[in-house]
Symmetry: D3
Subunit: 131 residues, 6 copies
């Protein structure tokens, strides 16, 4: 186990002990175990681990870039689901996805909002009663 992998797993678990690591490895890990390891090493061990940008900013960038691409649905859901761990509120995620309409058009923004609909609804309050 490389240092890059250990550092990457630490950050991935800090973001979402259950979701991120599981996502990256499930399915893919069976047919391409080296690739699952490389994603952890490079994405989290190399890039996310760098100084120079705080975690909240890195997660805003991840959500923006994944939504803008319009074809990274599963990855967008993982980052939206764990956004609050980096200090990004549900309302802020909605603002990010709305802003994506400027750069990638309305269908891409609408589909991103629809695909994350359940993650962005606040289940802790009766609809219509909390802001």
């Amino acid at each position: 186990m490389t240092d890059r992998y250990r550092r990457g797993i630490d950050i991935a678990e800090q973001l979402a002990a259950d979701k991120l690591a599981h996502f990256v490895e499930s399915g893919v890990a069976e047919v391409a175990p080296d690739f699952a390891r490389m994603v952890i090493e490079f994405a989290f061990g190399d890039i996310y681990a760098r100084e120079g940008l705080d975690l909240r900013s890195r997660e805003l960038i991840a959500i923006a870039a994944l939504a803008a691409s319009g074809q990274a649905g599963p990855q967008l859901r993982v980052h939206v689901a764990t956004a609050e761990k980096s200090g990004i509120s549900k309302r802020e995620v909605v603002e990010v996805l709305m802003q994506i309409a400027l750069y990638s058009g309305f269908p891409t923004a609408l589909n991103a909002l629809a695909s994350c609909h359940d993650l962005l609804t606040d289940h802790d309050c009766v609809p219509g009663t909390c802001g």
Copy 2:
């Protein structure tokens, strides 16, 4: 309610009283109500409402651009489902989607045709007996 919204809703309902407005607002309206309103205002109240291009042309453009992008499936289906309201026949929609192969490749055109298959089949006549 702004003039832009009122004008947008008028056009959206003219295109498809039931489908368009419903599509734009369902799901998204709950988590991003302002955005559902903005789409109506900008897409239909600002752009579609402009003189300078007839509605049939605007719908041809919508179908072509949505199909070409390859990642706007739900929106493509809405515009294909309502194309006849703008004077575009099912056969013409098929021609548009075939032509998209030139610009976006065969998989994009094939997937557009497959995803709209049910909307493009004429259920009013026995197969092989109507033009």
Copy 3:
């Protein structure tokens, strides 16, 4: 020379005797002469030659799909330059490119307008004096 090629060249020349044929063959014809022929045969001899959609509609679709892709600058310019041969006015081209913002975002629409700027300016009248 196949029938498909002859039919394709006829349509390409009808659209733009000088521009389209020249574009398709120049540069590419030297390194891939078969491909230059195939583009004429398939794009114009097979697709454009089909009944079921008038030439004006086919050109609206071409301009919409090429602009929406955001990476077909040279081809977009050829079709915009010859649009009037299919009965599409400069003003209508501007409306198409504006509408593309809905589907592909503002940068794509702005860059399409900027890249065709010279083709869309009316040189026959003093700026500010014609509609």
Copy 4:
């Protein structure tokens, strides 16, 4: 039936008698029969039939380009399912999809691997016991 179609069907059947032809024609053949024929004629009768590149290379290119696009899931599955007919092993397909991460990012590569997961798992041996 044109020579191009006959030649195309021969190659398509050589690749995958059951899968390729079926894929291209099902669904699409009902609403756009001419297009199903054109795909066979152009893709296999014109391009694949050309000398100058062996079939194994053409299939590597197909898998790479379809995976890189990120929006040709059904077509990617067909070519991955039939790769062995062109002498490309499952392990080589996995290597291709991993390499795509360099050009199209991790989500595109991960989604390609996940969508072909069942096709890339070797069901003929107990996991962990074959290379």
Copy 5:
């Protein structure tokens, strides 16, 4: 002049009195003056003007989404050039563009860095002498 336009111009000028407004209107303003106005109104007057996300976050999102698309070079340069007005340092911009490699691949990230090279070089210090 609508309220939306006035509010949009205010924000655009706050970001970059000289660059943003000039960019949006130059070239495009001549052939599509309504569109230049709409971009200001919608992008800055409607979206950027919203509460719920601070300006620094909105600019990180703009840079991430524009870089991820790989085809919004002019717009990326404008936002990178004005990033410091929103409290984003040159080093942070470099971190954003590096992170884009995860989502859109190495070529897209390398080309974004290369296209903004002059904007990201610190001209205030002798090379090698400042961090």
Copy 6:
């Protein structure tokens, strides 16, 4: 200097001592030196260095994926320029770029051929006299 970097530089130099390393580092190396190193480490030290796929196949995949994306012009040129080092002839590169039309449409294939025109012309023989 990591093992991954050393191994990556070895492969990059084997492919094109002068072009690849120079490309990856020039421009980008000044503003993002860590990123230039990471590209060498990950692309060549991790992925290209893997067994399981020969170098000729890896270069076919690189050319196919870069051309299919339509927005990696500089990278496509580097790999086309060095293709012969991996046993890929100019004629084979032309076949790859033609085949890309199937997956990404004619404009993308035409623009790829046009952008590599000078690299694909055989300067060692009088035009029309060599195959």
